[in-house]
């Protein structure tokens, strides 16, 4: 298996981008990544997107977007694993290079979510839950995560305020990120008094609806060294993916995310590293409780200690293990199919030392964790500055 590096990164505009279509947003991110890498050709394109058919009435994104980029002819494939689609697109590109099918891959993610009403958006997102067992009965994603939160709170004593502190921290980080959708700082009181969505989760516990795209250029190490341009070379040291039943009721312990644990163990094993080696992490905080449970599942803190991580300052910028320095899904925004790739964009930016006011000092190993549904698809990548 060949080693793989990330040699280019790019993001489109993020937020409610009413004047740009899915294809325009995607092309913005793709061009930014190609320009960052300093190349004009790729051997293959992967596109992570959760539900473009429901959001904009467009499937078949591989061919569509290759054509938009003037690259018709290049193999181009859309992959889907709900909100983990971007992470899976990255892993697919990694696998193509590792296997020798390609030397340079453009791995991307995109979601255009604001062309539909809030109701249609809720329904499209709910399609990532179990249609027969959950959605039929009126379940929504905030509701499913709320039920996980209740179990976690009862089991471990996690408090309503500790949930809020995750959002407060991530908004503080996002306030330092010019690319974040919501850059205002918020307080615990703001979170607790915001509109109820699914008890105990309020609107400020939830990540927003976002339009956006992200792209990275992957290359084998020999090619990557030629494209480094004097910058640190960022190697993908480990990759892990795992699945689970998608219905929450089918999970024996509803306060745990075993697919994230399995994906992390695979990634750490491939990288020859442990959680103690991680300097910075971008994790899937689609809801505040998600960041808490994911930190435990990744082994970045002991089981039951997730609620205390933001509270103690450990996961804030300046703490021992900054988590979501970009602002995370909560503040930076969550265009679902793009998120897994955007996490890698942030970690590469951090490992290059180019993150400006949100830079994590001396970061040389970073982790991304991207998941779909209530955790039934999880992808973990471990990136490091190559020697």
């Amino acid at each position: 298996m060949r080693d793989v590096a990330i040699v280019g990164i790019g993001l489109s505009r993020w937020g409610e981008v009413w004047d740009a279509s899915l294809r325009t947003l995607w092309t913005e991110a793709a061009l930014a990544a190609l320009d960052d890498a300093g190349i004009d050709h790729v051997d293959s394109i992967t596109v992570g997107s959760m539900a473009p058919g429901l959001f904009v009435g467009q499937e078949h994104l591989g061919g569509l977007l290759a054509g938009e980029l003037g690259m018709a002819g290049v193999p181009a494939t859309r992959v889907e694993s709900a909100c983990a689609s971007g992470g899976v697109a990255l892993r697919t590109g990694f696998a193509e290079i590792a296997a020798g099918l390609a030397d340079i891959v453009l791995a991307t993610g995109v979601e255009k979510m604001t062309d539909v009403s809030g109701d249609d958006c809720t329904a499209a997102l709910a399609a990532a839950a179990d249609a027969e067992l959950e959605v039929f009965h009126g379940a929504t994603f905030p509701a499913l995560y709320a039920m996980m939160a209740r179990v976690h709170m009862a089991r471990w004593g996690t408090t309503r305020e500790q949930l809020a502190m995750v959002a407060v921290k991530n908004h503080r980080h996002g306030s330092l990120n010019p690319h974040a959708q919501f850059r205002q700082q918020i307080t615990v009181k703001d979170v607790l008094s915001s509109a109820k969505v699914a008890d105990p989760l309020n609107i400020l516990d939830c990540s927003p609806i976002t339009d956006g795209a992200a792209a990275v250029v992957l290359a084998d190490m020999e090619t990557a060294r030629k494209l480094a341009h004097g910058r640190p070379l960022i190697r993908i040291a480990g990759v892990g993916q795992a699945s689970d039943h998608i219905a929450l009721q089918s999970r024996p312990d509803m306060a745990a995310i075993p697919a994230t644990t399995a994906a992390a163990q695979r990634a750490f094993k491939m990288a020859g590293k442990t959680p103690a080696d991680v300097h910075v992490a971008e994790v899937h905080d689609c809801f505040t409780i998600a960041e808490i449970m994911v930190l435990e599942a990744l082994g970045l803190c002991p089981a039951g200690e997730g609620g205390r991580q933001a509270e103690s300052g450990r996961t804030a910028l300046g703490g021992a293990l900054p988590v979501n320095p970009s602002g995370g899904l909560k503040s930076k925004g969550h265009p679902v199919g793009a998120t897994g790739v955007a996490q890698a964009v942030e970690i590469v930016t951090q490992l290059r030392g180019a993150a400006g006011k949100r830079q994590v000092a001396n970061a040389r190993v970073g982790l991304t964790q991207n998941m779909g549904g209530t955790g039934a698809s999880t992808v973990v990548h471990i990136l490091e500055v190559a020697p």
Binding site: A123, L133, H137, A247, S250
Partner: protein
Amino acid sequence: MSTLNPARTAREYPARYRLEAARCEACGAVSFPARLVCPACRGRKFAAVTLAPEGKVLTWTVIHVGPPSHKHDVPYALAVIELGGGVRVTCQIADVDPAKVEAGMAVKLEFRRIQQDGEAGVIAYGHKAVPA
């Protein structure tokens, strides 16, 4: 964006109308609804069983912002309920103040209307839990 249609609704009748489940002949695990492969042991032979409707609330939420199919039900309580034999279902809890729901609460599944596709479309029935 309705996901109801007559064929789909009709093929879900056994589980939704009659609580029909399947007991794996190899390991005894009960699957609801019935399926082709036992998730516990990958067995493929099953015997039909009917679930007893009594159970207890494992976890719950009160939904204040509902999906289009349930917009007019808000606020409503949704729960994961464990029935006898460890079978779990996710459904609404009706006939109770949602604020009074709590973990461990004893409930019983009843046959109720779940959603309907507009004025003239399919009306889908199934189970909701009520205090036992």
